[in-house]
């Protein structure tokens, strides 16, 4: 097989996000399925880690609906996943604010303000695995919301500080500081 043929096959087998977006715009609905399959789990991990509870699937779905509704505004300057994290994060914040305005009980432990270091964060009650994981979640619960977002994106998704800064609307340097502060806080909790 020639190099050109091999390259073409690789692109067909593993199209980029931008390729899939172009295909979806031209009417290929299968491309949308591939995009959702590629990113839905990461979005679910993120919203779960930063405080969403039983409405995780709803949040993930709403994230994709909003993203696909405005894909023309996605220029590819960041990765699609980073853009999706940005949308998911805003959705979480909006829901949290509206719940506060209604004065009802919160289904999400994530707080809008960064000053509340300790929340009732415990999004994984239904999937408790073992003592180590429970301790990890407790440690995460002691982080500020921004520390939790940054730490989640860095550790769970392996995103760079630059990507994280874009997703959580901060600077690269601040993201690095948030990450190391989060790591220190987790270590201190586990050492107690």
């Amino acid at each position: 097989m020639s190099d050109v043929a091999a390259t073409a096959r690789t692109q067909a087998d593993d199209p980029t996000d931008l390729d899939l977006i172009a295909r979806w715009k031209s009417g290929d609905e299968r491309a949308a399925t591939l995009l959702v399959e590629r990113h839905a789990e990461a979005i679910a991990r993120f919203v779960t880690s930063v405080g969403a509870r039983e409405d995780v699937e709803d949040l993930v779905q709403e994230t994709f609906v909003r993203a696909f509704g405005s894909l023309d505004s996605f220029r590819g300057e960041s990765s699609l996943r980073t853009w999706l994290f940005t949308i998911a994060r805003r959705l979480l914040l909006d829901r949290r604010r509206s719940e506060r305005r209604r004065g009802g009980g919160s289904r999400m432990a994530m707080d809008v303000k960064d000053t509340d270091a300790v929340t009732e964060y415990d999004p994984l009650d239904s999937v408790v695995a073992d003592e180590t994981e429970r301790r990890m979640r407790e440690a995460m619960a002691r982080l500020t919301p921004t520390q939790r977002e940054v730490f989640t994106l860095r550790v769970s998704e392996g995103m760079s500080y630059r990507e994280i800064a874009e997703a959580v609307d901060t600077t690269e340097g601040a993201a690095r500081v948030h990450y190391h502060n989060a790591m220190r806080a987790i270590k201190e909790f586990l050492d107690d």
Partner: protein
């Protein structure tokens, strides 16, 4: 649990966990970790945290896909060039012409500059506009002119052709005033839409450079 003093290596541990390091960098980090107990502990901690984060309920992809909106291409607004072309077509279609006037005191001061009578002559496919000055014959025939002359406060010449009012003869001035006074009565039906309008004779357009 203490921190390794090598901050650069510590910064790369999450990338090692997520397998996002280039082979050379990965080898470097792994070599450091092999000899650093602090980094080994931190790496183990990161793996535990990551494992706990990856326990999430399954997401129904098909439900999400069904909820997605259909793609709607954005509506593109016409550019300024097309708007100009459309305006030119409208003018030609109506068979009208435009007269634009000069600065203050069109009938009064020596400094008064004219009066341009640009008659639009355009081919439908392009926004190109040809300005042709008004003639005496035109002045006597309101059907060749459409837009009213508008005195402007500053010495602003809007047209390709201009000259001093003082250069005009009495007859030409009278014809011009009559022409301006009759502009409101112009209707598209009054205009000969077929033939282009003749330019002004040299007596009116001299010195315009048009």
């Amino acid at each position: 649990m203490t921190d390794c003093p090598n901050g650069d290596i510590r910064d790369l541990l999450p990338d090692l966990v997520n397998d996002r390091l280039a082979p050379e960098t990965r080898a470097e980090v792994e070599a450091h970790v092999a000899s650093c107990e602090d980094c080994r502990e931190e790496l183990a901690l990161l793996r535990d945290v990551r494992r706990s984060m990856h326990r999430v309920p399954a997401v129904a992809v098909s439900d999400i896909v069904r909820a997605l909106p259909a793609y709607r291409a954005p509506v593109r607004r016409l550019g300024i060039g097309w708007r100009i072309a459309a305006a030119a077509l409208l003018i030609v279609g109506g068979g009208t012409s435009i007269v634009v006037a000069r600065d203050e005191g069109i009938l009064g001061g020596d400094s008064a500059n004219v009066v341009v009578a640009p008659v639009v002559q355009v081919t439908p496919a392009t926004p190109a506009v040809t300005h042709v000055a008004a003639s005496d014959e035109q002045a006597a025939s309101p059907s060749r002119s459409a837009a009213p002359a508008t005195p402007t406060p500053a010495p602003r010449e809007l047209a390709v052709a201009s000259t001093s009012v003082g250069d005009l003869s009495e007859a030409e001035l009278d014809a011009l005033v009559n022409d301006l006074g009759s502009l409101d009565a112009v209707t598209p039906a009054d205009v000969d839409q077929g033939a282009p309008v003749s330019p002004l004779p040299p007596s009116v357009t001299s010195g315009t450079g048009a």
